[in-house]
Subunit: 449 residues, 2 copies
């Protein structure tokens, strides 16, 4: 094995796995954890003590009564991360901000402010808003269609990155003796005029410790993969099995290479569900019990989300999966289409589709600490992922991973024992993008032949 | 005197007064203070130790090379305040966010998140963007005209306040035994459709400790005063002399009363320049020295700002004040007009206008600790203000106020000795607005006849 090590992300109060919609029922988790800054700070400190690369905060800007409980009421990610920043020292801070309903100038400032405040630990999870209802919270009658959502997203990231290059690293001499504060030659307007945005610049914030905060991206659609390959440096995804994980990672790397990028600058980190116990058998029973807490009725309701919160409760459960036209066309289209395909290919009834989705929530990462460490190491060495995103809900469950699985992986050299850098970019081993202006004026010397 | 006490605000790294554009040259101030979170946290802690009601962060979203030096590069206010929130416990946290280039849903979430994180200490300084060039950073060809800026601002605040009432205080039972997380009867959509915004809601964040964070406002124009009287709870202003200060406060209170508001719910806090030394004479010499550091050339350049950064250096200094048409019509119109009027009424040359503005920067609050305490007490008891906003640049200067002036004012009962509440609203003695939905369902009982 090379010296490449497994990257570790901690999703704070995440969803997506078995039973996670009811995390608040866990006796260990304060029922109001999603609005309790101290809960988040404590979890981030635990992740930092275990030398995790980053904590990650998900987001959405629209709720329905079907939304997962703690999504109904939660703190805005960047505001939260700034509070976490000043109570931690090494761990990366990755926040979700949508490109659909934010101005690039504001996004650039806020992430750059977080990068300054944290000493170079900011990451931006670039998303487009999937829930069609979001438009109603932003003075729009209609949600952006798919091509617009992704077209805006790509241009948005390009504008933000351009604004981040507004100043060269030494643009502010701030020489008290000579009275020179700014070197105006090293301040650069952007003068961007594109299809979706026109931004003159410059940003009103000097170059940050990372220069360019790290770009995270998730999104499984064709458009999402293209965006990830274009601008993503870390890709969040999910992985049902090793073959799928390998194929996804390989595809993203190929797409990035086809765009002229070094694929080593693109890390794939699926979110994985860990179920750890003393023995494999106990771990399997634990997962069974957990899946049991996810009721069929709840799953039936949640099936509606990718289809724009379509109401499936009104159909006969034992009739063939209903024909629902283009519901979902402006929401989570890829997920909706794959559910339709599943039903069509298998001739499933509505009940069978729901049961299939419940069963599919089973995790490949279930077992004793040894078994889980083996599985992670195997997937990693086979090229299934560059790192993993672990959900932090109950602290005792997270401790099973940090105290019992991580030591095995460290022993084997899969995971590093100490932070290697002061910045998130440095710890992830990602290249440092040069400032386009500095580069233009001082081109890199040609390599010897 | 009633039990009403003087409110205290601390402007962190403010501008506006004599010599403040060169604060970074002060040997006590780190040259990069405007991007140093630790500098801000330390100042906020000092203000909290002195029992200040609030710290205040100004903002703008556009810079030119004429911008004050530390405006060229500074942290975004809300991101900064969240970091300060978790290192302080009592002091209010007031951030500037423009209504011109932010979505109400995002503003409501961010301020409410700060209110949760700080345990009820958030305040919003509502502004419209005055610099016409700001439009260029937000994909607009033209800056909003005056009526649009203020029309948007009023409706923006109304939408934000409506979103803050999305949940009644007991909307989230989060009862682990019964499994009830939300009481949907206590969740309310907004369904706002106005001239500038359409916002469905509800907000995805439950009622915060203050319920309604405190609304701050500044703006001297007719439209600005009207906005302050409509929605402001604390008005930031400036005051050249007692008569002007009294007139401004009286006018705002009358306007508020005319709108059916209790004028006691509207506090006026001018920003004041303190120049304190052991004796009155030393203090006057100190101000002279400070004014001397503001060069004529610098003042000539800055004269351009209210006129949309009009370049005054191209005119003959000793000719009559130039005729510049409607420059400034979309910028700081009131300020521009008052300068034009000053020139016209006095027949001033350009040089005389600039010199007049330099001289007008002299402060009424110059003297020994006794003198300054006397002046503040006099203005306060005469109805010149409800509190003051003190600029915090050099810590030793701020300490002259906290250690030498405040004890005198405390001794006299003008300033309280301890925080009286856990919230900013509580410390300012402002009424707690009821949730419109709770109120509607449970009308207050009629008073006994």
């Amino acid at each position: 094995m090379s010296r490449r090590t497994l990257k570790l992300g901690a999703v704070l109060l995440g969803v997506g796995g078995p039973g996670q919609h009811n995390t608040w029922l866990d006796p260990e988790i304060p029922a109001n954890a999603s609005v309790d800054v101290n809960w988040y700070i404590a979890r981030a400190k635990e992740a930092e003590a275990a030398k995790f690369d980053l904590v990650f905060i998900v987001d959405s800007q629209f709720i329905t009564r079907n939304s997962p409980n703690h999504y109904l009421s939660r703190l805005e990610p960047l505001t939260l991360l700034s509070a976490i920043a000043v109570h931690t020292g090494n761990i990366g801070l990755v926040g979700t901000l949508t490109t659909s309903y934010n101005e690039p100038f504001n996004v650039a400032r806020r992430l750059y402010s977080l990068d300054h405040i944290s000493g170079g630990r900011a990451g931006w999870n670039v998303v487009t808003s999937g829930d069609a209802g979001t438009a109603g919270n932003y003075s729009r009658d209609e949600h952006f269609d798919y091509p617009t959502r992704y077209g805006r997203a790509l241009e948005h990231v390009q504008v933000v990155r351009g604004l981040w290059d507004s100043y060269e690293a030494d643009a502010f001499p701030r020489d008290k003796e000579s009275g020179v504060f700014l070197d105006p030659e090293k301040q650069h307007a952007l003068n961007h005029r594109g299809e979706y945005f026109s931004v003159v610049g410059p940003l009103n914030l000097e170059r940050s410790p990372q220069g360019q905060p790290v770009i995270f991206q998730a999104g499984d659609s064709e458009e999402g993969r293209d965006l990830g390959a274009s601008v993503g440096e870390v890709i969040f995804t999910h992985a049902a099995n090793l073959a799928q994980a390998k194929a996804f990672r390989a595809e993203l790397r190929e797409r990035a290479a086809a765009k002229g990028r070094d694929p080593e600058g693109l890390l794939t980190l699926p979110g994985i569900q860990l179920v750890i116990a003393d023995t494999d058998e106990e771990a399997r029973s634990k997962e069974d019990a957990r899946l049991g807490t996810k009721s069929f009725d709840r799953a039936l309701k949640e099936l509606g989300r990718p289809f724009g919160w379509h109401d499936f409760t009104r159909y006969d459960l034992d009739a063939p999966f209903p024909e629902i036209g283009d519901a979902g066309e402006r929401s989570f289209r890829t997920q909706a289409n794959s559910i339709k395909k599943l039903a069509r290919d298998n001739g499933f009834t509505l009940r069978q589709v729901v049961q299939h989705l419940i069963d599919a929530a089973r995790s490949p990462f279930v077992g004793s600490p040894e078994t889980v460490a083996d599985t992670i190491q195997h997937w990693f060495s086979e090229g299934g992922f560059d790192g993993i995103n672990v959900t932090v809900n109950a602290p005792s469950e997270f401790a099973l991973f940090t105290d019992r699985v991580l030591p095995i992986l460290r022993e084997r050299g899969v995971v590093r024992s100490e932070y290697e850098s002061d910045t998130l970019r440095g710890n992830l081993g990602l290249p440092v993008p040069a400032n386009r202006h500095t580069d233009a004026r001082h081109p890199a010397p040609a390599l010897a032949p």
